[in-house]
């Protein structure tokens, strides 16, 4: 039994779904943030798997860009979470509710 392309694709799909479920069900901003990172890593896995399978280097280059951008996003995101914490003394998304409808 060989580990083929579909194995990686399924693993990535499962990881992505875990990430989506985490974003939708968790209430702590940091955990949501980690779940988003999980989604991005599922994407990276998909890219690398396709890249290897198709022997095409573009996918791996794409992964580098995804990682670089994700790092920039983390920097901005954590700063925003810090400002929220200063106002609310909490990072629970249910408490971020000044504006509705």
């Amino acid at each position: 039994m060989t580990v083929g392309l579909s194995w990686y694709l399924w693993l990535a799909a499962v990881l992505f779904c875990i990430g989506v479920a985490g974003v939708l069900t968790r209430r702590n901003a940091l955990i949501i943030f980690m779940s988003i990172e999980l989604m991005l890593n599922a994407v990276n896995l998909t890219f690398v798997a396709f890249s290897r399978y198709l022997t095409n280097i573009d996918g791996q280059i794409f992964v580098f860009f995804v990682m670089a951008v994700a790092a920039a996003e983390v920097a901005v995101g954590l700063a925003i979470i810090v400002t929220i914490f200063r106002h609310k003394e909490s990072v629970d998304i249910d408490k971020v509710n000044l504006m509705k409808w």
Binding site: G19, A42, E73, H87, L98, M99, W101
Partner: protein, 498 residues
């Protein structure tokens, strides 16, 4: 795959914007913190970049950097529009930010970086450049939404925008990964279009990829059901940032939409994304208009109105998948985006003006009562914006709708156009409510006397004049839009330089 130095010309506007960004940040850091100096440097720089964009003949380049970027008429038109929008936003921001703890150079730098991202986005013809453009734009916008960090609402807006934005980026990227795999390792839009047209049996994950990528883009244009972030973010962000957000990212995201769905994925229109986008368009305009009816905060009302406008613009995307109306639909989209930009900037600037005339700086629509008697000029301009937003002739907004809807009719979306016209009728109610408040209601005591602030009045005046003049002479704008759309890089026409 060779590097051609003349390709750098194609991204000259983006490079200039980045140089200007660094210049402004360094100027504030090292030489002067005088806001006026920084503002003048930024505006002069942007004016120069606008001239470069319009007159350096950049539109004729076609593909550059091995097809990653297209410097065609379509992108040049949108780049010029985006630079104009940025100039007006920066012009209104100085007075707005007076007395706040925001460092002007940082703020301007962020706006310029976001503009650069949008400019990359409107000329992107590769999945990688689309991704980079979207992220450059979004990350700068997350910061801008929360730039008044001392205010709970501003931080909350940034927080919501960031979490949902990053979430949607995940979908967008996963879609890109699946399309990359399904097309056998292609990231270039033109190549993707060719591969898809030759594909015999479509892998399931191609459909999944198209679905995921459309979720990501629909989020960026705030289409139903991915619109929940937009009213909160619009309300909580500083108002000049709100008007920037309402106009810029929407224009940029629709440019990508039409390049991706109207060209590269147009082969899948009929049986994959066409019906879905049809439903999304109906839901977006109907829900946007109906919820806007009950809003009492002008910023939230304009937020829902911009959701509704995204619904109308989706008609252009749907129509553009038909190769025969592709050019007409693209030109209609360009025209509509121009109209939309000036109407919204004008309306948001009036909103700033009215809110700053109150002590608490609130944005309630009752404040508009009786403004016509105290400030007839501003009231007249606001009436023009509202009439244009609701699409009544002879304003620019009417012609925008006319061109987009007629393209949709040509592509055979008759039912959709009927629904869109009915929606425009609904929208007349809440737009004209503001006009009725201004002209027919007596002013509440104490009367709202608007602050005299020349920069806001100038922006309002410019927008009103453009809307009326271009409304009377729509042909000139439309000619530009058509010539832009005609030279747009299109999979069926172009051969990429390799």
């Amino acid at each position: 795959m060779i590097f051609n130095p003349t390709d750098l010309l194609a991204v000259l506007p983006e490079i200039s914007i980045l140089v200007l960004t660094l210049l402004v940040i360094m100027l504030e850091l090292l030489i002067t913190r005088r806001v006026l100096v920084l503002q003048i440097v930024t505006l002069v720089g942007l004016a120069a970049i606008l001239l470069i964009t319009c007159f350096a003949g950049l539109g004729s380049h076609g593909g550059a950097f091995n097809g990653m970027i297209a410097s065609d008429g379509f992108s040049v038109f949108l780049k010029a529009l985006l630079i104009g929008v940025t100039m007006m936003v920066i012009f209104t921001s100085r007075e707005y930010l007076r007395g706040s703890n925001v460092r002007y150079g940082e703020y301007t730098g962020m706006i310029l970086i976001a503009t650069c991202g949008m400019m990359v986005l409107v000329s992107a013809t590769d999945l990688l450049t689309i991704f980079l453009g979207i992220e450059t734009m979004s990350i700068a916008l997350y910061v801008l939404a929360g730039i008044r960090s001392g205010r709970a609402r501003s931080s909350e807006a940034a927080f919501k925008y960031f979490l949902l934005g990053a979430f949607s980026t995940g979908f967008l990227l996963y879609g890109m990964a699946l399309i990359y795999g399904a097309t056998g390792g292609k990231t270039n839009l033109t190549e993707i279009g060719q591969v898809i047209s030759e594909l015999k049996d479509m892998p399931v994950y191609l459909f999944a990829g198209v679905g995921l990528i459309s979720i990501g883009l629909l989020f960026k244009v705030a289409a139903v059901p991915f619109h929940f972030w937009s009213p909160d973010v619009y309300q909580g962000s500083p108002t000049p940032v709100t008007m920037f957000m309402a106009v810029g990212p929407k224009a940029a995201a629709f440019a990508v939409f039409i390049r991706l769905f109207g060209s590269a994925l147009s082969g899948l229109s009929a049986d994959v994304w066409g019906p879905v986008l049809w439903v999304v368009a109906v839901a977006t305009m109907t829900l946007g208009n109906i919820i806007a009816l009950s809003q009492t905060n002008i910023k939230r009302m304009l937020a829902y109105s911009s959701i509704a406008h995204a619904g109308y613009l989706l008609l252009a995307v749907l129509a553009s998948a038909n190769p025969e109306v592709h050019v007409t639909a693209s030109a209609g989209l360009l025209f509509y985006l121009t109209a939309y930009a000036f109407m919204n900037i004008g309306a948001f600037t009036v909103a700033i003006l009215v809110s700053r005339s109150r002590k608490d700086g609130d944005y309630h629509i009752d404040d508009y009562q009786g403004i016509a008697s105290t400030n007839p000029w501003i009231a007249g301009a606001m009436a023009i914006f509202m009439i244009s937003l609701s699409g009544i002739p002879p304003t620019l907004g009417f012609f925008g709708k006319l061109y987009v809807f007629s393209a949709a009719v040509k592509a055979g979306y008759i039912t959709l156009v009927v629904i869109a016209v009915l929606n425009s009728v609904i929208s007349v109610y809440y737009y004209l409510r503001i006009v009725v408040y201004m002209y027919m209601r007596p002013a509440a005591e104490p009367k709202t006397v608007l602050v005299k602030e020349y920069s806001w009045a100038i922006v309002v005046g410019i927008c009103a004049v453009i809307i009326m003049l271009a409304g009377i002479l729509p042909n000139q704008t439309m000619k530009k839009a058509i010539s832009g759309a005609e030279t747009k890089v299109n999979p069926t026409q172009t051969v990429i330089k390799t």
